[in-house]
Amino acid sequence: MAVYKRRYAPYIGSLTPEWSRFFVLTRYAFAELFKSRFFVILLILGLVPSLFFACYIFIANSKTVQMLLPMGPTDLFSVDARYFTIMVIVQTQVAFLLNCWVGPVLIAGDLTNGALPLFLSRPFSRTDYVLGKLSVLVLLLSAVTWAPCLLLFSLQAGLARNGWIWSHLWMVVPIVLCSAIWILTLSLISLAVSAWVKLRIVATGVIFIAFFVPAGLGEMFNSIMGTYWGRLLNFSDMFRLILAQGFREKSASGILGPIRWNEIPVTAAWGVLILLCLLSLVVLNARLRAREVVRG
């Protein structure tokens, strides 16, 4: 089918492996995202807190810099589990904001323009489609959560020496695992909203509502019933509970706000986040169809 010949010719070249094709969606989505200046600025701003955390590590490990401070050399700057817990919390908040901007447009555009039958009429399943879109958010949110955390962990390991890395290596697991569960929850919720709501501004609003309204309702429930179980509807707190357990925090104050450590079992927190993921998958399953079937 050479241009100059202007005639149809079948394709006889090689094909890419089927398992890798979902990544085409991710690649094209990233290309579109990086065309937006606002997105690039948002991404850069999202990494700014990591710079402050890096400065902290530098100060904690540099006696020279500490001597320049008014209080002189001090043990105040310690890089430990609490430091990384706070860093993960800050970065996951950044991830939430980034997710609210990027997530709503991922599927809605395809649904509005009826592009889904084009994807699904190819050797490309709905799972591949969701995987492709999910990868966009997973990669993006990873870039602002566990990736900078691990980089700073390496930086601290390099600066601290004295076997710091071996005594703190266990922290890699909660950094990655807790970030992963939050990334997965956020991504699936925003994909489900994107599959449901076509307007970006409305979809962003719905994501905010999905996180803040149940939390408010939960607090109301707690006040009326005199219990703490309403906190199950505060998804951020459930994540923090898992995080606190992961980092072996004896006291969760400062991480969980007014909630006490042993009021809600961690298994319940896991249950809530897993349930959210499953609900999102149910919505995606219902919405991502090549053809809509009208009942009746």
């Binding site: 010719a9 039958p117 009429s121 190819r122």
Partner: protein
């Protein structure tokens, strides 16, 4: 060689309602037309072929591959041009086609090359860098065709391809479809409301009505039979005239006011009809000459299945 489409008691239910009722038939031609009134089940059949709907009974095979059991394998052979708007609005035309070709498994470089070729081939070369969302309806149809052929499919499924196209664009598209059919080892399934589109591009027709097969007609054989019809208005000795024509092998039906319908075999030319008329002293006041068209086949199928006016 496997038949192009094989329907084995195919039954499809959507929303608790049976849309396709036990379709059974074999279509062997390389270019198949799908006809039927609105709601006949054409789109449901196409969607079932593509694996969008699962059959509740029976099966459908395309080139020997079961649409359900070998869905992925089958879809790797298919190029699909949907009826409704289907595009990615913010990307340029050529990028849209490249994207779709990459999803079909082409490497990025090959996909880009094929996307340019497909765009030039369908006649949108000049507009390929414009966002698809800014295209006119006709251009969107062509862009959909480009994405359907860019990866070089073995089966091309076109659902109402000429929708929204002006006559020159329609003519060009029909020519393209014929070229594609003739150029490569490709099977074509075309669903259209326009009988003329199907007649110009297809060799075999599947006519559906109320989710059932009204007729399967091989147009090639019909054309080969080359039955020629004459509608005459005559004055004079009709009886001797028709008996002489019947002696030549024609079939005649006589109506009131000297109207006669004549079915001519291949061996008889029209001038022989004039000669017989002159010999018998019959005046031919009016003559319509036409072949048995797809419209006749379609209307006939509709009448046989009880649709009085053969609406489409």
């Amino acid at each position: 060689m496997n038949p192009t489409i094989e329907l084995n008691g195919l039954e499809v239910q959507l929303g608790g309602r049976t849309v396709l009722h036990s379709l059974t038939g074999v279509l062997k031609s390389r270019a198949i037309g799908l006809l039927g009134p609105n709601g006949a089940g054409k789109s449901t059949l196409i969607n079932t072929l593509l694996g969008f709907h699962a059959p509740c009974k029976g099966s459908v095979r395309v080139l020997g591959l079961d649409s359900h059991a070998n869905g992925k394998e089958l879809r790797s052979l298919v190029g699909y041009m949907p009826e409704n708007d289907a595009f990615i609005s913010k990307v340029s035309g050529v990028r849209f086609v490249r994207y779709m070709a990459e999803i079909s498994g082409l490497a990025p470089e090959q996909a880009m090359e094929r996307a340019h070729e497909a765009f030039v081939y369908v006649g949108l070369g000049e507009a390929r860098y414009r966002p698809v969302g800014t295209y006119s309806l006709g251009m969107k149809q062509l862009a959909k065709l480009a994405q359907a052929i860019a990866h070089g499919p073995k089966v091309l499924i076109l659902d109402e391809p000429t929708n929204g196209m002006d006559p020159p664009a329609r003519k060009r598209l029909i020519e393209l479809i014929r070229e594609i059919r003739e150029a490569g080892d490709i099977c074509l399934l075309l669903s259209s409301h326009l009988l003329r589109d199907v007649e110009e591009t297809c060799d075999e027709v599947l006519i559906l009505r109320n989710g059932q097969i009204a007729s399967i007609c091989n147009l090639v054989e019909e054309r080969r039979a080359n039955r020629k019809f004459l509608e005459l208005e005559t004055i004079g000795a009709e009886a001797t005239f028709t008996s002489t024509l019947e002696g030549l092998g024609c079939e005649c039906a006589v109506f009131t006011n000297g109207r006669i319908k004549v079915v001519m075999p291949d061996s008889v030319e029209i001038r022989e009809v004039f000669k017989v008329a002159a010999d018998r002293g019959v005046q031919i006041r009016r003559m319509n000459h036409r072949r048995d068209s797809l419209e006749d086949i379609f209307l006939n199928a509709m009448e046989q299945t009880g649709v009085p006016d053969g609406r489409i």
